[in-house]
């Protein structure tokens, strides 16, 4: 199993570079968080990797096999994308049935079970589903297909808090019992933070961070104090953002140790993933 790999992927739309020489690898039965602002290139990346659109340059491979026009390679990945590609008039139960035809490992019992838990009426037609239930039926199929790679593009779009909670628990349970490689692309960073193991951050079509969650979080911290104290402290450090509230200045830093050497009067605190993300991706 050597993962989904993209090498030097580039794609432009109307002269705007959606992806700019992206090289990445998703592997090893881990849960990845693919994070980025609107338009950073996440959906483009996922669409190229599943053959829905073509890259201008670069290559995409699954377990060593090039993706475009390769049925065995495409069979290994399931993408629950933002756009619903199922026919509007098809009933949900038929989307399950056909998914079973195309994905031999599809578990119809599990899918039915999930539909019940989410209270999804499988007799409904795709076009009559609300935004939330549209996301739900797609994520049910993604979780039931049992492909080695599962890609989820904004899986909880439109889901209420209860259903989001249910989804994360189901995902963790499924992943724990049957390890696979999952990539979740989402804007709900704090919600997904504890579920993911690896983080990839895209900014304007390029990868700015690609490392384990623990590593990234351990590097980030915030220092607060008077402007003079902070300015003195942050000299020579990798500052990713600052904020001032009256005389109180806060600096956000990404770096190694020596946060203990902050000195008296300077308060050091942890940076959560969302704050880290915001400061890293603010232009």
């Amino acid at each position: 199993m050597n993962g989904i790999e993209v090498r030097n992927l580039s794609k432009s739309y109307d002269g705007v570079k959606a992806l700019n020489g992206v090289s990445l690898r998703f592997e090893g039965n881990k849960i990845y968080g693919l994070l980025g602002r609107n338009g950073a290139g996440k959906t483009t990346l996922l669409n190229i990797v599943t053959g829905r659109i073509f890259a201008d340059r670069g290559e995409a491979l699954v377990d060593g096999m090039p993706i475009p026009e390769n049925d065995p390679a495409l069979r290994k990945i399931y993408l629950a994308g933002e756009k619903t590609l199922f026919p509007e008039g098809m009933k949900v139960q038929d989307t399950f049935k056909w998914s079973g035809e195309f994905y031999p490992a599809f578990d119809p019992e599990y899918a039915g079970n999930l539909a019940e838990q989410f209270r999804l009426d499988t007799k409904k037609r795709v076009k009559s589903l609300s935004t939330g239930y549209d996301s739900i039926f797609k994520l049910i199929i993604a979780m039931s297909a049992n492909t080695p790679y599962i890609l989820l593009d904004e899986p909880v779009l439109g889901l209420d808090a209860n259903n989001r909670d249910l989804f994360y628990r189901l995902l963790i349970e499924k992943y724990s019992e049957r390890p696979c490689t999952v990539v979740i692309s989402t804007h709900l960073i704090e919600e997904v933070s504890s579920v993911i193991e690896e983080i990839v951050i895209l900014k304007e079509g390029a990868v700015i961070k690609n490392e384990p969650r623990e590593t990234l979080l351990s590097k980030g911290y915030a220092v607060s104090g008077t402007a003079r104290q902070i300015d003195a402290y942050i000299a020579g450090k990798n500052v990713i953002g600052t904020e001032s509230l009256g005389g109180l200045k806060t600096a956000y830093i990404l770096g190694g140790g020596d946060r203990d050497a902050a000195g008296e009067g300077i308060e050091v605190s942890k940076l959560d993933l969302q704050k880290l993300f915001i400061h890293l991706t603010n232009s």
């Binding site: 963790i172 724990s176 019992e177 704090e190 504890s194 193991e197």
Partner: protein, 122 residues
């Protein structure tokens, strides 16, 4: 049992502590089976790898042991081991910080002692 995601303490440490608390309180008696990695990670909504890390801490310190194919169980004498460990850590965990804060506020040793006596009296 809840994880404080805002805290400085890594999640896997908090998991370990939560489980230790449960052993100490008797919720998980010695010899009984504790929830699986799946159940723990689902229950706390965390990545199973993190849950595993926390459990392994308990395995390493002899609080819990794994029976292949069956599950994980609380070791005999686990409660005693935990009490010993926490006693040894008590000074660092509670006293050191207390004294530091007391000093910052200008409280004397006598004042602190009378507060402690008050606490035991209640």
């Amino acid at each position: 049992m809840d994880i404080n995601f805002e805290s400085e303490r890594p999640i896997f440490l908090q998991i370990a502590e939560c489980l230790e608390d449960a052993v100490l309180s008797g919720a998980y008696p010695e010899g009984s089976q504790i929830p699986s990695i799946t159940e723990i990670s689902v229950g706390f909504k965390i990545n199973p790898a993190t849950a595993l890390k926390g459990i392994n801490l308990l395995v390493d310190s002899g609080i819990v042991y794994k029976k292949r194919g069956i599950g994980m169980f609380v070791s005999a004498g686990a409660a005693r081991k935990l009490i010993q460990k926490r006693r040894a850590q008590f000074y660092e965990s509670y006293v050191s910080g207390l004294v530091k804060e007391a000093r910052r506020l200008g409280l004397s040793e006598t004042e602190i002692n009378s507060m402690i006596r008050k606490g035991f009296g209640e």
